[in-house]
Every structure is written in C-alpha cells, then in structure tokens.
C-alpha cells in the first residue's frame, strides 16, 4: 500500500482498541523473567561456548605484538579470534570503525580479540592473560582545539536564507552566545549481547538489535556471506536508545567465534565497553545568534554547530530543529564536522534535536529576557505555521502554542518569580520552560497477518520492541482492524524471516510499523470479505464477526480450516515533502538549588505533547517520562569525560557515568493534546519516544537560571559551575 494521499476515515478511527491505555502484552513475560533476551537463548542454542572480548588500550596506533600463548593454554580455552585468524573482514555500512581491530587500532576498547572458552569465567580469565604491545600514534582528541579544521559533511546542507549578517547587525536586540554539550552514553540496561550458531554456511544470530534488516545486511557484508544465509532473531531488547541501531562487536565476534570453535558462541560486551567500544552521542559546540526587533519579532536567526567523529563518520547535526522551530526572514544554519580520534559517534535518542534544543532553547530564554518578554510569549510571537525556509510548505499539524499555553496553566507558570529571588528555606527555586520538537520520520514497513479457524490473528514482522511497547500497539492495530479483542491477537517480532519492517529508531517505529500492519490487515479484510462473496467496501469487522448487510459469520469460520494469510507493506509518498511533519511539545520544570552547596534537585516536571494520534496512552506516557528522565541526566550529570592525552572516555562505568536515579525525579506529569495527523499515515499517528527528551535539558537549565540568576551554557550543569556565583552565606 502506498500512502500518498491524506488519510480519510478508516477502521482505526473506531478507537475501540487503539488509543486506549493498555498494559503491555509482553509485560507478564518480562516481569516473570520468562522473556528470553539475546544472551539467554539457552534453549535455542544449547551448548554455547562463552566468548570474552579484549579491547585495545590505546586510542590510535597499531598492535606491535600480540602474545596469545598463555591465554591459548589456559584452562577451558577453545579458540581465540583475532584479526589474524579470521581472514578478510569487511566493515558494515553502518559502522565507522572496524568491529575487530588489529593491527591498526582506531579507538580505545576497539575489540582486538575474542577468547572462546567452556565457561564465562575461563574466557574472562584467559582474556586477561593476553599480552599486547602497541605502537601509539598521535591523535586528535579535543574538539575545541581542532574546531577550525571542521568541514561540511557531504550530507549536510547549509541553510542560508536572506541576508543573515546584515539583518543580525541591524537588529536592535541581539544575542550571540555559544553553548556546549558533552558526549553522552546510551547507558541502556541490557548490554550488547549475541549468540551465534552456524549450520553449514548458514548463520543464526540471536542478538539485541533495533534494526533487524540493517543488521542482517551488515552482518552479511562484514563476514562476506550472502544476506540470505544470515538470520537475525531479536524478540526482546533491554533498551537501545540508538546504541543498538547497528551491528556491534558482540554479534560479529560471536559469529567469528562460533565459526572457529565449530559450535555456538555467546558474547556480551562488558559494561565498561558500552562507553568506548560502542557508539555514543557526540559532543557539540553551538553558536547561536538571534536578532529581533524591540517588540520581539525575530529578524535573524543563526545556528552554527560543530561536532567531531572518526574519519568516515558523520556529524551530530544539532541545528535540525532550528530550521523549523521559529520564524525569521534571515537565516544562517550550518553544521561542521571535525575528524577526531575518539570512539565513533552515532545516533542516540533524538539525534540532532536533543543536543540542539539543549542550546537553542536556552538561547530563546536568554533572548526573551533581553527583550523583557515572558519566554512563552516570545515563542508565541515567533511561531510559524509554515516551513520558514520554504513558506509554501505548511506543517501538517503544529500545536506548539497550545502545548506551551496549556502547560503554563497546568504548571502554574504565572507563579514564576524573578531570577534568583524565590526562596524555600535553604533552597532557591525556579521554573523553566522549553519547546520540544522532533521531526516525524516515516519508513517503509511490511507485515504478514494470519487468520486461523479459531479467529486468532497472528502478526509477523521483523519490527522490534526495545522496551517501547511495540508488541502492544501492533496487537491493538490488528485487533482494531480485524474486529477482535486483544487476546485474539498474537504478535511475533524481531525475526529476519518475517517481512521487513521500519525497525525501531528515530521515533518512526510506532507509526510506520503499525501502518504496515494496517496495510496487511486491509488486504486480509479483503480476502475474508471476498471469501464470503461480500463487497469489501460494505463489510465490517467487529466482535469477532464479519458482517455485510444482514449476513454475518464468525471470523474463524470465514477463515476456513486452513486459514488465510495476507502480507503487505506501507510505503510513503510525497506527503512528507509537501507538508512538514513534526511533533511538538512543551516541557516545564521546577528546580531547587541549594543555597549553600549549589546542588540542583528537580522538584517537578510536566510535558505537554502534540504528536498525532496516541496509539497507547499508557506506553506513550512511559516513553515520555523515560525520555524526560534521560533529559534530566543530560542536563545535570551525564558527561563522558575525555582524557585528552590518551583519547578515551575515562568514566567508563555506571559509577563514573551517572544517570538519574529515582531520588532525582520526584514528580512527572505528561499530557497529550488531542491530535490526529492525516498526513502521517493511515494511523494518523507520529512518535513520542524522542520528542520526550527534546527540550528537557534546556527547560532544566532555564529553571536553574530562574532559581539562581546564573546562566550555565556548558552542560552538564553541575554545582561547581554555579558555586562561585551563589549568594554569601552569613
């Protein structure tokens, strides 16, 4: 099914199942420990040996000598995989550095060996016996120092509209500030893990991966085997946040280990490898200039962004939202990429917008203050209903102002005081607001739907559920379409033998994958109707029955003894080009800052989101509160600290890389505005999982400013950055 005209009324609009807050159907399996995650597929791959990864301890250079002798003769060791044992190894399309290094080393903790042994302990112990001598090479590890060497990446487009320089210098009110966001780790709960098993030249990989088909392609490419010979299975994923969009060392090394050991091999990356071995969200430097008239109309908006990556990598484009969020006739928006010898950067929850809004939405706050305007009013004045670069393109839906204004009412925004003036005992308190914005992406997505003679509907698609609740919304979609209760739907995900889906990334998963299921169900409905000689256009599916006029039959009966199968996909036409499709929101935060110690503690958070139809308000809320929590981490503590001498992230464990704990997040509220977006898909839905993090950091930063009158422009906002400006204590 091609989606190229706006959606009209369709069976989803009945909202009997879709749109209802629904417990996740996979919840009981997960809470009872019965859902097998990749590393736990003991039954599927019995007799697996254990692989333990050895990582390089230099940032750049070569291996001069690798001594495996002690490890090879250690108890239980079956084989050791190194660059020398595997023959020619290619690199996946989605990887920047090789997943098995040697003799060249491209980054710290790049895998250089896999020790395969009978037990995990034996493999780990032998891994410690490998002796490596390196020849170090000089590298660049400091973005700040090499920022002037940055260039435009081939995929980056400068956005130059009007005469920015002239308009900015003529503007009566100007802001010119630079913000910095550090590198971030995904820090999901389940580390990257895989079990590999070969049967002849056919490989099965149980792995933890967000994008089955990308992964399948990259495994095949890396190993030099036909894609058809690779099967990826990933039914349960303990979080990903973008860190599992791509195949990583666990999968490739498990496959190589299994080939060498001639038996299944399982590999989990140790926690410390999450930081330097797998990708991270790159740091940014962002210069923002805004020029406005005295009454607050923006005449010039400039956003220049710098990030770095390994040679061959890509930028963290923190300017994405600036292209769309506010009006302004003269615009200069650029992104530049420097070559850094650090572990590779890549997508992390709302790549681009998450760090971009951390800067832009402080700048808006700063500008509003210069203008003497309430920051919400300033945003309202500069709202736009069309793409500012291309005014012929309207937004499909844009309820930013309503998000801001209804949120303000709900939050008690009118009680916000002057910066540094509100006290609650030993705490300075303050409120902050920021706009949330994330583009709506759509991706082709296929599904197979089976109907059996008991009226049970089974959906198969290689879509993944990374903890987001995909199982449930797919079941809701199929139930709505086929007129059955949720219990009559079985959902099977995450297997490359199923039709190729959109996968989980870029918050496109929910809308695209359910739209694919919709398409398959439309086909199945037609088959069922035709089997009864019903006119499909006049056939309804409800309460487990197919009905046309006065004729009605149980769905299971209609399916016949051998059942029916339909497969289809959704693909998207030009509606994303003719209409700018985005999701919007507003974040409100109240913080307390300890007057003595400058410790910052969040008191409450509110998010108001307008993101198309909300398919399952319960799991959507979970997504948003999780994202708000992650935003709080980015604002207040998350910081991959680079050792600029040695070129690696130093705090590579969860004691050193702090993420929020429960005590940091006392109260969160999420409101979804009513919205359906007929331009997005037949589901009229968009995504929320990334929208939820967009803007949170700035709302917190603005609240800290409101509390203390101290502006911090370099994340994370930690107490040491406030301390010298805190009031004297008498």
């Amino acid at each position: 099914m091609k989606f190229d005209t706006p959606a009209t009324t369709n069976p989803i609009d009945q909202l009997k199942v879709v749109g209802k807050p629904t417990d996740r159907i996979d919840g009981p399996l997960k809470t009872t420990g019965m859902a097998p995650y990749a590393y736990e597929q003991h039954e599927a791959a019995p007799n697996a040996a254990y692989g333990y990864v050895v990582g390089a301890t230099i940032a750049k250079g070569t291996i001069a000598a690798l001594d495996l002798s002690k490890a090879e003769s250690a108890p239980g060791v079956i084989t050791i995989v190194t660059a020398d044992t595997v023959g020619k190894l290619d690199k996946g399309n989605f990887n920047t550095a090789k997943l098995l290094g040697g003799p060249d080393i491209q980054h710290y903790h790049q895998a250089i060996a896999l020790v395969v042994a009978e037990t995990f302990e034996q493999a780990r112990s032998a891994a410690g016996m490998i002796k490596v001598r390196y020849t170090k090479a000089r590298g660049e590890h400091d973005l700040e120092a090499i920022r002037t060497t940055a260039t435009r990446h081939k995929d980056s487009k400068d956005s130059l509209v009007g005469d920015f320089v002239g308009a900015f210098s003529a503007a009566p009110v100007q802001l010119d500030v630079t913000y910095r966001t550090p590198d971030h780790a995904h820090a999901m709960m389940e580390p990257h893990a895989s079990i590999a098993s070969w049967e002849g030249d056919k490989l099965t990989l149980w792995t933890s991966n967000q994008m089955i088909d990308w992964g399948r392609g990259d495994v095949a490419k890396t190993l030099g085997v036909p894609k058809d010979n690779v099967r990826l299975i990933s039914p349960y994923i303990g979080g990903g946040f973008g860190g599992k969009l791509f195949v990583r060392a666990d999968a490739i090394l498990a496959a190589l280990g299994a080939r060498q050991a001639k038996r299944p091999v399982k590999v989990a990356l140790p926690r410390s490898f999450m930081f330097n071995n797998t990708p991270h969200r790159p740091a940014t430097i962002q210069r923002i200039r805004i020029g406005a008239s005295k009454d607050g109309k923006i005449s010039a908006i400039g956003h220049e962004n710098w990030s770095g990556d390994l040679a061959g990598g890509g930028p963290e484009d923190a300017t994405q939202q600036t292209k769309f969020l506010y009006a302004g006739a003269n615009r200069l928006i650029t992104t530049r990429l420097a070559v850094l010898d650090l572990p590779e950067g890549n997508a992390m929850r709302a790549p681009g917008e998450a760090p971009g809004l951390m800067a832009l939405e402080i700048a808006i706050d700063e500008m509003a203050e210069k203008l003497g305007l309430d920051p919400i009013e300033f945003r309202v004045i500069n709202d736009t209903q069309v793409d500012p670069e291309n005014p012929a393109r309207p937004f499909s839906q844009r309820q930013l102002i309503k998000c801001l204004q209804s949120g303000a009412d709900r939050f008690g925004w009118d009680k916000r005081g002057e910066p540094g003036k509100t006290r609650d005992g030993r705490w300075l308190t303050g409120m902050g607001v920021a706009a949330a914005f994330r583009n709506n992406l759509t991706m082709k997505s296929a599904a197979r739907v089976k109907l059996d003679n008991k009226g049970v509907v089974t959906v198969e698609t290689d879509m993944t559920d990374i903890g987001t609740g995909t199982y449930t919304i797919i079941a809701q979609t199929a139930a709505e379409m086929m007129g059955v209760v949720l219990d009559k739907v079985v959902v099977k995900l995450g297997d490359s033998s199923f039709p190729v889906s959109a996968g989980s990334g870029g918050q496109w998963g929910a809308n695209s994958s359910t739209a694919g299921v919709y398409a398959a169900c439309v086909k199945l409905r037609e088959m069922v109707a035709k089997s009864q000689k019903f006119d499909p256009a006049k056939t309804s599916f409800a309460d487990g029955k197919v009905t046309s006029g006065r004729k009605s039959i149980d769905l299971g009966k209609a399916a016949g003894v051998s059942g029916m199968v339909a497969e289809d996909f959704i693909e998207f036409g030009d509606l994303g080009k003719t209409h700018q499709q985005s999701t919007f929101g507003a974040h409100f935060v109240e913080v307390g800052v300890n007057v003595v110690t400058a410790e910052i503690r969040i008191r409450r958070m509110l998010a108001v989101c307008a993101a198309g139809r909300i398919l399952n308000p319960k799991s959507a809320r979970s997504q948003v509160i999780g994202a708000m929590t992650m935003g709080a981490g980015a604002a207040l503590m998350e910081d991959l600290v680079i050792d600029k001498r040695h070129g690696f992230f130093v705090n590579h464990d969860l004691a050193g890389y702090e993420v929020p704990v429960h005590a940091d997040i006392p109260h969160q509220e999420v409101i979804f505005l009513d919205e359906t977006d007929p331009m997005s898909s037949p589901m009229k839905a968009k995504g929320v999982g990334e929208l939820g993090i967009c803007g949170v950091g700035a709302a917190i930063a603005n609240a800290v400013y409101n509390a203390t009158a101290v502006r911090v422009r370099h994340y994370p906002i930690t107490l040491d950055k406030l301390l010298k400006d805190m009031p004297q204590i008498a």
Binding site: G55, T57, P75, Y108, E121, R124, S125, G128, S272, R426, V596, T597, E599, R601, L636, M637, V641, D643, R645, H646, V650, N651, H652, D653, A655, G656, E658, P660, V661, H662, A663, D664, P716, T718, L719, D720, L723, K724, M726, I729, A730
Partner: protein, 316 residues
C-alpha cells in the same frame, strides 16, 4: 577474574593465621567491593577466606560507656541500631548516605573501612596507576581529576578514600581492634589507621599482612549536634564530591572531619579550636597546604560553605 581457592575461617585468630600462610590471600566479608575488583583483575587474590561465620556481627556496650561494633556488622544494622542513632547520629547518617539499601545490607563495618578508591584510572587496567601497579605512574595527575584529593595528596597518587562511614568514625575517634597472624591483638586509632599516599599509595592502612579486624570501638558518647552533609551531583547512590561530618557542642566548640578530599578521612584537630570563630577561620588550618587541580578546587569552597551552614544550623 583469576581462579582462586576458598575456605571458611572458624575463628578470627585462625583467619589471620591462614591469611599469613597464603601470600596475597584476602578476607571476604560482604564482598561488595572485593568481588568487583576481582572481576576487573584489579585485585587478584589466589585465595579467599570467608569471615562471615565468625559471629562478629554484634554491637555491644563497652565498659567505658562506648560501643564495640563487630567487624561483620552490616551497614544497615549499624545505621539502624538505637544506641547509634541516639548517641552517634553522625555515624548513622553517614552510613545511610552511602551506597544503596541492597549494598548496605551486605556491606560490613570492616569492609567499609577497607573499601578502595573510586579513581577511574585505578579501575582501568589499561592505564598506569601507582596504587594498582606500584611504580607505573599516576594517570589521574594531569588527567580527569574532578573527584580527586585536594589535600594530603602526593606526586605519586591523588586518590580519595570513598567511604562515608569512615569519616564519621574519624570524627568520633573510633579505634580498630585487630588480631594478627601470631594471635596477638592490638588497637589502632582511626587517625592512624588510614595512610596518606606518599610514595607508597598501594599501602593504604596500618594493617600488617594477614592482620584481621575484629571490631571497631566507639568511645563514650560526646553529646552535641551531629551532622553529616554529603554533597553529590545526583540525589542518591553516588560517592561524595565532599562530605562534612561534624559534632558541634552548644558552646560552639566541636569536631569536624571531611570525606572526598583526601586519601583518608580528613581531620585536623588543631583547626577545631577555631570552630567557634566560624568556618573561614577553621579552613585556614583544615585545608592548609591544599593542592587542588583546576577541576577540583571547587571542593574547597564547597567544604567551607557546607561547614559554615552546619555551624549556623548548630547555633540556631
């Protein structure tokens, strides 16, 4: 992790004797620090002696009106003890500020005193560290040092001692009771128990090879207002950037010890005579010869402000 052998001790003296017989052997109590270090091969003991079954899990009154805390008393139980809460509030508060509920259920009194630094380079066997590998160098100097020591550091090591409990013990003038491999017992003042790094940062305490801690004693209660302020980036489950333990008497005199600033719980008795004059006066002696790095000099301001507020609270 290296393979190791394991046995259970049947008495403190036997535990000490056994430890002396296998060089590099370690006692295992809660295991919450030791096992992590073993998994990372920062510690590679060939032999573990389990000391959990020795009945050292009691808190008893001493003849001089103090308390004797068995070495294996769990942090949770110690923090919850009525006598501790009533007479040694600073200790209970310090314990509850540390780690998490689950960890405190396992962590023991002796193990807590002996927990090792959280310096990130110490934790990365790919990096030079004099504490882990004497003579290899100190990666933290000139590296990421935000959490490191601001006083008492050396050119060999700038690590801090991460314990909260030990800071309270220091302010309370606790003593550590031990038994040596030859069966002799001794008492070590907490002031002498932890060492500064000097040129031997791998030597962290006054304990001799095989020496086993049986108890920690607290002298009789000293009254006063007990405070423990732990300052950290997140609200819970994080090591201190700095912590301030203080016992302040109604007349403004008192004691103060600091965590997160040095290789040991930091207390300078002669600085305490200035407590009635306020934090600024105390700081001069308390932080004399401080050698902060640009990344951690904020700790000095933080200590002064926290102490200042604590003194104000005590007076109020």
């Amino acid at each position: 992790m290296k393979s190791f052998t394991y046995e259970r001790a049947t008495s403190p003296a036997e535990a000490a004797a056994k430890a002396a017989r296998t060089p590099g052997a370690r006692f295992i109590a809660g295991g919450t620090n030791l096992l992590d270090l073993m998994k990372l091969e920062i510690e590679t003991p060939p032999h573990l002696i389990d000391v959990n079954g020795l009945g050292l899990d009691k808190i008893e009154a001493t003849d001089d009106g103090g308390l004797r805390i068995g070495a294996l008393v769990r942090n949770t139980d110690l923090a919850a003890d009525d006598r501790v809460r009533r007479d040694y509030g600073v200790l209970s508060r310090a314990l509850l500020a540390g780690a998490s509920g689950q960890l405190r259920n396992k962590a023991t009194t002796a193990g807590n005193l002996l927990q090792r630094t959280r310096c990130p380079y110490f934790y990365d066997t790919g990096q030079a560290c004099n504490k882990r590998t004497p003579g290899s160098g100190c990666s933290a100097i000139g590296g990421f040092s935000r959490q490191h020591a601001v006083v008492g550091a050396s050119t060999a090591c700038i690590a801090t001692h991460p314990s909260d409990m030990a800071v309270a013990m220091r302010v309370l003038d606790a003593q550590v009771e031990t038994v040596k491999p030859d069966g002799k017992t001794r008492r070590i003042k907490i002031a002498d128990f932890h060492k500064l790094p000097g040129s031997t940062p791998h030597i962290e305490t006054a304990l001799q090879a095989g020496e086993f801690i049986t108890a920690v004693t607290l002298p009789k209660p000293i009254g006063g207002i007990h405070v423990y302020h732990k300052i950290r980036d997140r609200a819970s489950y994080a090591f201190a950037l700095v912590s301030v333990a203080a016992v302040i008497q109604p007349d403004g005199t008192g004691r103060v010890a600091l965590g997160g600033v040095a290789h040991k719980p930091w207390r300078v008795e002669k600085a305490e005579t200035d407590l009635p004059k306020g934090a600024k006066a105390v700081m001069a002696k308390l932080m004399a010869d401080a050698t902060p790095t640009p990344e951690n000099e904020f700790k000095i301001t933080l200590v002064e402000r926290t102490l200042s507020a604590a003194l104000m609270d005590a007076r109020a």
